[in-house]
Symmetry: C2
């Protein structure tokens, strides 16, 4: 049926298009010429305002404030900073049920992870737990993501530990901790500042490809670090470096005397168990909770085993002590003067940004799944405040954890309340049961971490990158090998550098294409993409696929002239009529600057020398305005600027049509 | 007449377009669907090869070598490196006449300038003349520009002098000179390397706007420096700094005792004379030679005056001594070890790149005027070799001079022979008449330099920038004030930084537009640009004006959803039918990466939630391939990818047509 209606419509459409000869052409061009005649003088203030808005307020955060009474605006303001006051009103018991279950699940997952991650950052175990208590609470009030699970994460812990130990030897616990808190403080400040000054878009400069590679590399590095705990190698015998070469060397050097078989037995067997549960959870989504509680179970079981067998006497390293009680204040511990201030700042900025990218990525992913919006900048403010407060309460950098957030989501959380539940559980743990962790073997923590970071190795993503974009793949691999073979910072550096290189390459070498007419339509398309698109004798049609800026204007000009040369060669060979018109399809040219206009002028001159007429088809408003400001339209003549390629061809058509039917 | 033929054609065209109902639609889509069916598997090697070619060999330098015998290829190779062997064959007496006149004119212009510019670089006068002897000769053999005039230039001299004196006090003449030669050597190496490795495009990253600002600022700074000579202030009393504040302060502090009225009389009167001749030359192009020879005349006259009046006894500073004889070798003077090596390298790189941008800009300008091509990379090789050889023969960085090249062009030069003529004149000067410069007052050199650099202040360009692109203008002003108020390097830094900032901004915040149907055509255009373009009920058409990359993918997704929200608000107000289809016009989307595809997937999902069907119109080859690789086409369905917007609308049309005629 639709087919029939279609045909009717097409007939009608057809008639319209052909129309009365005298009528169609003008009407086709009329709105255009009218437009061209006097491009609306652009108001400077307005113009700058729009640019600023699109750059910093592209998400139009104040929309809801529009035409509201002051009081209402105040409420909205508070709700904007503390979304909890917004969603709390609509909070129900059913929602709480979901949040409760989710909260308990992620708590059981986070406690053992926290202890391990704290070790990764060379910090005492309790700091890990602290970081799962205060920050989640703060986030629950300020954050706008409903699914994110807040706490320490593997990659940031590794990065932080790596950067910190370059400055202070972790053996000097107190100064090391102080530096960690100071760095956390500045990480928070960085995040807050980025959000407050609406610079959220800056993190978009870390390309997805680079992050995949970086995460993968970090996963390998972290896993390698765990060999120490898994094989029971003494810290004194183990390298400080994180690159694969050094680590493996010190692993093998310690092989014959440094390893401890009891540790290996415990570690490997539980690792196998954890990976198995992971596999089960993957295979069947409704068993997601199996891998979620497995770590806690293994901790309990192994601790119990060690306790009764007193394996620690046989050299099985154990946690031995976790400080009891909740977060002590660390406000006085920050380095606010002296040489460490600057170092802490540098480290904080790096760690803060990495933490951000992870949190924002998580937030966006789950927001898309449940179809609610997340204001990146507002998130940053929330995360920033959370880490600042954290740094004053003995926490180190916390952010959203991929693995736990996924569990949280699958456990059916509805709001950030699940984070509050988790925090409360951690609170109880700190107050009551930390002593029970005394006999927990480090090997378990190692295997838990390994099982956790395996998820960071995203092979599918890497393969997809390879398939889709070789350059992206290169960036990914660069970051990966940088982290694995050199160090975390270097890997990060490579990732950022390659991300930028790609942008610059894109801007310097835009694509251009020859267009041909697709038979029996008015449509002109790339003749390489549509082989049966026909070029029109005596007319060459080139499309520029990018804004024309100083960085590519010369290239574009020369590329077009080269298309012309090639074409003229071909024409000579086949003895076709020589080219008289060059039509430049400008639709994709979204903007142009002075260098671009210079290039177009030079193009025009070179064509004049060859007695070829230059014509522009469908330049956008901005481009048009600028061409007029620069008097370029006068140079090539208004009559040579067209609404569409087909209009341009129509105008130069007589010659064409004669050729077409000899 | 053409009008009539037009109409005929339009009728025909119209018929074709409407065509047989059954026929048009398929044939319109056929080539497309066929294409979509199996996008040509892209060959990796080929793909990478093309990228490399477009990036580094976009000008296809080896074209002429194709299918030629070995011997011929060798000849071509030599000619490629030494173009002189190419054009020398066709050299005629008439050409020589032009070159002779041009050569003599620029010689008379360059000799006084060289002496002055050498002072600007804190070098002995003869080094300036040396740099107008060897480098032009080398360039004549290797360069491909026919109009450029080689020698020392004001901006580079200033930059070099400024950078060098930060390292060594110019009073220590010998080490200072050695550092200058070493820097020149590395400047040459940089240029040669950039050309050899085909990295010429890198200089395109210095935007035209930034250069205009930088040059203007440099002009002011140079002019300010000349006040010293013009007012006869003793060097000891004059600041080393180049910023306007320090300079003016030390000018006024010396006002009551440091100035020398005789110097001022000479300097100011001749400055007036020079500016007058400049004005004459500008007013009437055929008197271009007046300003060209004026400097030489003023030198002769003033020198004579001072000689007879012995004004130097009354404190009129004079050149006093220029070493006689041509370039001595400086091969042994280069710092090839020690702390200065690195410093010289840094300075050389900066000076070399600035020199390049100036030379390339000149080359391109005049090449465009006379319609011959210039291979940027080959030019760089020529300029590089020229400066390397120069550095071994007591020259400092030489490049193309705007002012002298213009004179050269107007004097009717045909080939680089004019440079040879100039060099020979400089040779004779060095051999015979340098002693005559003994009594030349520095004030004259000062006024000559001021008169010369006035031309670097390009107000028209600045105004044009303001009119066309506010951001460009900002970059221009930034560079300008940076140079004038802080220092040359800072100005340069600002220029580069702003150039990059612009690129990044362009990539993060691309434009999007709502499209409407222009009545009685199949053409869909931005409704803001074409107010009478009609939107189609129940269909929203959005155009994305950029490649979709990680740096903008999130923004694009959110922007499109915002367009949708706004539209739905509008629709509610007017009680129009709700939107059922969202068509994304992909023509301008020249490329997409994995992040981009992720964004499209998220967009699709969000739309699904709103029960809106997503459709893509006219994605390019590369984009299509990637969408297929990523299985995105399966997600949204092949049938929702169209050849053009009008096709898409046609397909969803029945609903539309019903609405259109109630």
């Amino acid at each position: 049926m639709s087919g029939r209606v279609n045909d009717d419509f097409i007939k009608k459409e057809g008639d319209i298009t052909s129309g009365p000869p005298s009528g169609r052409h003008p009407s086709g061009r009329l709105p255009y010429i009218h437009k061209v005649g006097k491009p609306p003088k652009q108001n400077l203030v307005k113009e700058i305002a729009t640019t600023v808005k699109e750059t910093f307020f592209s998400d139009d955060p104040f929309r809801s404030f529009k035409d509201q009474p002051k009081s209402k605006q105040f409420v909205l303001g508070v709700e904007a900073i503390f979304p909890i006051f917004n969603w709390a009103r609509g909070y129900t018991l059913t929602k709480f049920r979901g949040d409760l279950i989710a909260g308990l699940t992620i708590a059981s997952l986070c406690i053992p992870q926290d202890i391990g991650y704290a070790k990764l950052a060379n910090l005492p175990a309790q700091n890990g737990l602290y970081s799962s208590f205060v920050p989640p609470l703060v986030y629950a009030f300020m954050g706008s993501s409903r699914d994110i699970a807040i706490g320490p994460v593997a990659v940031v812990s590794l990065l932080l530990g790596d950067l910190l130990q370059n400055e202070i030897d972790p053996k000097n616990v107190v100064p090391y901790q102080r530096l960690a808190f100071t760095a956390t403080f500045f990480a928070g400040v960085t995040q807050l500042a980025l959000g407050f000054f609406r610079l959220g878009f800056l993190i978009d400069f870390l390309s997805h490809a680079a992050i995949v590679g970086f995460m993968g590399g970090a996963a390998i590095t972290i896993a390698l670090q765990q060999l120490k705990g898994l094989l029971g190698i003494k810290t004194s015998q183990f390298t400080k470096k994180t690159d694969i070469v050094h680590v493996l060397r010190s692993v093998f050097h310690t092989a014959h005397h440094g390893w401890n078989w009891q540790t290996i037995v415990i570690g490997v067997s539980f690792l196998a168990f954890l990976l198995l549960t992971k596999y089960i959870g993957k295979r069947n989504k409704k068993y997601f909770w199996v891998p979620a509680i497995a770590p806690m179970i293994s901790v309990i079981v192994s601790t119990f085993c060690v306790y009764i067998t007193r394996a620690d006497k046989d050299g099985v390293a154990i946690v031995s002590h976790i400080k009891k009680g909740i977060n002590p204040s660390s406000a006085g511990d920050l380095f606010l003067t002296g040489e460490y201030l600057g170092k802490a700042f540098r480290i904080g900025v790096v760690a803060g940004i990495i933490a951000l990218t992870e949190a924002i990525a998580i937030g966006r992913t789950f927001a898309a799944m449940k179809d609610y919006k997340i204001d990146g900048n507002k998130e940053m403010v929330a995360l920033g405040s959370m880490n600042i407060i954290g740094s004053l309460t003995s926490c180190y950098v916390a952010t959203g954890s991929f693995s736990r957030s996924a569990v949280n989501y699958m456990a059916g959380c509805h709001t950030a309340v699940s984070n509050i539940i988790m925090a409360s559980v951690v609170f109880l743990t700190l107050e009551l049961i930390t002593p029970l962790f005394k006999y927990t073997p480090n090997a378990i923590l190692a295997s838990i971490i390994i099982a956790a970071v395996v998820g960071l190795l995203d092979f599918e993503a890497a393969i997809l990158l390879w398939k889709i974009d070789k350059f992206d793949f290169a960036a990914c691999m660069g970051a990966f090998f940088g982290v694995v073979f050199v160090s975390v910072e270097i890997g990060l550096l490579i990732a950022v550098a390659l991300s930028f290189a790609k942008i610059l390459l894109q801007v310097t070498r835009p694509r251009t294409a020859l267009l041909g007419k697709i038979s029996r339509t008015n449509v002109y398309r790339n003749i390489q993409q549509y082989p049966d698109a026909k070029q029109i004798p005596r007319i060459l049609i080139v499309r520029i696929d990018s804004a024309i800026y100083f960085s590519n204007s010369n290239y574009i000009k020369e590329r077009i002239l080269r298309w012309l040369d090639d074409e003229e060669e071909r024409i000579e060979e086949h003895g076709l009529p020589k080219i008289e018109h060059l039509i430049v399809e400008m639709s994709p040219v979204t903007d142009i600057d002075t260098s671009g206009i210079h290039a177009l002028e030079e193009l025009y001159r070179s064509l004049q020398k060859k007695e070829i007429q230059l014509a522009l088809a469908n330049p956008g408003t901005i481009v048009l305005e600028k061409l007029y400001e620069a008097k370029y339209s006068d140079l090539i003549g208004d009559s040579n600027i067209f609404l569409s390629v087909s209009d341009a061809v129509l105008t130069y058509a007589p010659k064409t049509s004669n050729i077409e039917e000899p």
